[in-house]
């Protein structure tokens, strides 16, 4: 088990290094950040001064080596624009994004599994057909459009929920959270639904196909023949067996919820990491872009690890050993 985790972490370091190099040079090719930093009326002299301050006057490989040297010293770069630690800025905004991704995931699971089970167990019922048709919409409608429609309907026309931003936050064990107040949930509701809609469709489809397959299995027939209650058959025999693919997919999807909440965060002006990333790309704030990629890679590695461990809990056939994986 321990060897497995250590090996995974070693792999993660290699992946992070590779990603950082690709992103650094990618951002380097895109353009010269000095033009995004200097005011429009800056003189040539000022522009050269800014270049020297930030080392843009050096060739790419020198800038990259300096950057690596900084990392080796534990200094992960300072945002050109904000002047403060890039990792710090990202971590500061991470709770907002995690909160949003978490709420979206809960929304997807809470509605997705029951709806999917129903559709899987009673495939010919009109309601099941409606759910499946709806899930196609959930897949195919673009996130930004759905977001705007949600705002139009619930905020502008009905006036039920606020259109933008995050509710008041309280500090719990050093983390700012807005989950503890009604106002916080009111702000969270629309962006979470918007972000979770695609995952909801995914969960519905996975659960449905799993349930259909499982309900034809011998062990389910046997359970039924034994006279077990319908609830026990569904809850223990079917659900437990179809959870493995759902957990795998949702684990990875949680990563993508966190990493790619950019669109939702922008539309709902949600002060999370995605919004920060978008602005950093527009401003060519290289240290922030690179730091973001590092954080996201680590996040995916961690999630994969947790998923692998969860597997063994759900399915005793999967054993984690150093040699096997």
């Amino acid at each position: 088990m321990l060897a497995f985790i250590i090996r995974r972490l070693a792999q993660a370091v290699v992946v992070v290094l590779a990603m950082v190099s690709i992103v650094f040079f990618g951002a380097y090719v895109v353009g010269d950040p000095v033009w995004m930093m200097a005011p429009g009326d800056a003189t040539q002299e000022q522009i050269e001064e800014i270049r020297r301050t930030f080392g843009f006057d050096q060739p790419a490989h020198v800038q990259f080596l300096r950057f690596l040297a900084d990392i080796a010293r534990g200094e992960f770069g300072r945002s050109y624009v904000h002047g403060s630690s890039a990792i710090g800025l990202i971590l500061e905004r991470m709770p907002a994004t995690l909160e949003l991704a978490f709420a979206a995931l809960v929304f997807a699971i809470l509605f997705g599994i029951p709806l999917g089970l129903y559709a899987g167990l009673k495939p010919d019922h009109w309601f099941s057909r409606a759910v499946m048709a709806g899930s196609i919409l959930g897949f195919s409608l673009p996130t930004f459009w759905v977001g705007l429609m949600l705002i139009m309907l619930f905020s502008v026309m009905l006036g039920w929920l606020p259109a933008t931003g995050r509710g008041p936050t309280v500090n719990v064990l050093g983390v700012e959270t807005s989950l503890l107040s009604l106002e916080g949930w009111r702000h969270l509701m629309l962006p979470a639904i918007n972000l979770g809609l695609l995952k909801l469709s995914l969960v519905i489809r996975l659960t449905r196909s799993g349930a259909r397959e499982a309900s034809l299995q011998d062990y389910v027939k046997f359970a039924r023949a034994k006279g077990l209650s319908q609830g026990r058959i569904i809850g223990v025999h079917i659900l437990k067996n179809i959870l493995i693919p759902i957990v795998t997919v949702l684990g990875l999807e949680f990563g993508s919820l966190v990493a790619f909440s950019v669109v939702t965060e922008t539309i709902f002006a949600w002060p999370g990491m995605g919004k920060l990333l978008l602005e950093s790309i527009q401003r060519l704030d290289r240290p922030l872009i690179v730091a973001y990629v590092m954080v996201v890679v680590l996040l995916f590695v961690t999630i994969n690890l947790i998923v692998d461990i969860l597997y063994s809990a759900l399915d005793p056939r999967v054993r984690i050993t150093g040699a096997e994986s």
């Binding site: 895109v30 000022q46 995050r166 002006a269 602005e279």
Partner: protein, 532 residues
């Protein structure tokens, strides 16, 4: 039984709706919520010369002089001033002004602030161009003298850009400290409360303010970059005021009974810059694809291109009325502009005739480059211009690039760090509220040492313009300077150094009952929002 359940459900639902309504209502009528379209990088007033930073700083900090809503200079922390000689100015500071921490404002704070500006570490865009060369001498606690090595005509304009911080409170604070609220001590009408990067900026009324006190007990700024979201936020009542109403929505929002719109002509001109550097320009070819000599060096061709642009149609169709056809670098309501210049009239036949006279009766091929998403409707605008050029026989292609790529290539993407493109669309805002700096940057000969031509991406150069400009920028007398600058503008524009297209309008939307006093400098101040 069932009935009772339904009834209790109904009352529970009603209670929830009621609770929602209470939570959703603004806490106090005296609070103001404003949504900005751009995000500040810091609240340190000397850290980054960026519009949103400068805009927010003006709530907490003040400078010796300030711009009014039409960018005319008015006294602020300096009560009065006189010019002693061409190189020396004397300023009387306002008495009985106190910083937010209660300490009195004196000459020492001015000297401290001027010394701090060039020494902010890792500043992405320092405000040094406003302090450079100025030496300050304290005469007494409320009198200072500023000396410059050469006559500085824009002295009062420059002073409006330097916010005064408390020498005591800000003595050893870093930019990060100020973002956290430490040392964010000014004399302004509002006090710093909180800054959450990426989310909000909150200030509270300064009850000890020396001037007229503000009506708003608390002002919160939100940063909402996405246009539809910003509009939805004001429609839903999340915020009271939004800036930069998208042109596509302006007409519809004007009819909305819940809102009131206000707009002002901005100091931003949208223009085309033409390659005057090269004998053969890289993105210009003959009709047959052969290399030809750069036609933009011929005045007649430049005039023809300007005549080919149907400015009223662009304003009407592309900008949906949210712009005004441009004749020069800044709108002619400003001092120092020429009253003789009018927007060039749309004249296809005249343009074709000029092309024929220039020896290019069949036109040529051209590519216009421009930024994508930097200015209002920029891509649509370039496409429209390209169609208009094609109509007179100049087959025009369009290539738009992300701003970060565009400006770096347009400024120095060519060989030997020369501008890369043949023709670009760009915008320029006259921060000082007069054409002097604009002329120097856009149409002054490119000379990094002298600081002129810094945005001259066409490398236009005209000795006479340079001479008048140099004279103008060192003439302290306002009327004489205005006259010199107007003459320089006329020469450069009649020589088609740039092709001006339009001036953008700035539009604000506010909840009914609020009134926004529109500003030409694109700033949104709580001080400009009043109840009706």
């Amino acid at each position: 039984m069932t009935h009772a359940i339904i009834r209790s459900l109904k009352s529970a639902a009603a209670a929830m709706v009621l609770a929602g309504a209470i939570c959703g209502a603004p806490a106090l009528a005296q609070d103001l919520k404003i949504a900005m379209s751009a995000e500040p990088s810091s609240v340190d007033p000397h850290y980054h010369n960026l519009t949103p930073n400068n805009q927010l700083a003006k709530h907490v900090f003040e400078s010796l002089t300030e711009h009014d809503e039409l960018q005319r200079i008015k006294p602020a922390l300096a009560e009065s001033w006189k010019v002693i000689d061409d190189l020396t100015w004397e300023f009387k500071l306002r008495a009985n002004v106190r910083f937010h921490d209660g300490s009195p404002f004196t000459a020492d704070d001015v000297i401290f602030s001027f010394n701090r500006v060039p020494n902010v570490p890792k500043s992405p865009a320092p405000k040094t161009s406003y302090t450079r060369g100025k030496t300050i001498e304290k005469i007494d606690d409320l009198t200072i003298r500023i000396r410059t090595p050469a006559p500085e005509a824009l002295m009062l304009k420059h002073l409006a850009q330097i916010d005064i911080m408390s020498a005591k409170a800000a003595a050893s604070v870093t930019t990060e400290d100020i973002n956290a609220g430490k040392g964010a001590v000014g004399t302004g009408p509002y006090k710093f409360v909180e800054f959450v990067p990426g989310d909000r900026y909150v200030v509270a009324r300064n009850d000890a303010y020396w001037g007229e006190k503000e009506p708003w007990a608390k002002v919160s700024y939100r940063f909402i970059k996405s246009d539809p979201t910003r509009v939805a936020a004001v429609l839903a009542g999340d915020v009271d005021v939004i800036e930069t109403v998208p042109t596509a929505d302006a007409q519809r929002l004007a009819k909305e009974p819940k809102l009131a719109l206000a707009s002002a002509l901005s100091n931003r001109v949208i223009y085309l810059h033409l390659d005057r550097l090269r004998a053969e320009s890289p993105f210009i070819k003959g009709k047959d694809g052969a290399t030809i000599k750069n036609p933009l060096n011929d005045l007649k061709v430049r005039q023809a291109l300007s005549k080919a642009i149907n400015r009223p149609a662009i304003v009407d169709r592309i900008m949906e009325g949210e712009a005004v056809p441009a004749s020069q670098l800044v709108p002619d309501s400003y001092a120092g502009t020429s009253k003789n210049l009018k927007p060039v009239a749309y004249d296809v036949d005249g343009a074709k005739r000029l092309l024929a006279e220039a020896g290019l009766p069949n036109g040529f091929q051209l590519t216009i480059h421009g930024p994508n998403g930097r200015y209002t409707n920029d891509t649509k605008l370039i496409e429209a211009v390209a169609q208009m050029f094609t109509r007179i026989g100049v087959d025009t292609k369009v290539e738009t690039l992300p701003p970060s790529v565009f400006f770096s290539r347009a400024s120095s993407g060519g060989p030997d760090k020369t501008p890369e493109f043949s023709m670009i669309l760009a915008g320029w805002s006259a921060g000082t509220g007069e054409p002097g700096d604009s002329l120097k940057a856009l149409l002054g000969s490119f000379d990094p040492k002298a600081g002129s031509g810094s945005a001259n991406r066409g490398r236009y150069s005209n000795a006479e313009v340079d001479k008048l400009l140099a004279q103008g920028l060192s003439t302290v007398d306002d009327d004489k300077r205005a006259d010199l600058l107007a003459r320089a503008t006329e020469i450069a524009i009649n020589d088609v150094g740039i092709i001006p297209i339009h001036y953008q309008k700035n539009t604000w939307a506010a909840k009914k009952g609020l009134k926004v006093i529109p500003r030409t400098d694109e700033y949104t101040f709580a001080m400009s929002v009043r109840t009706q």
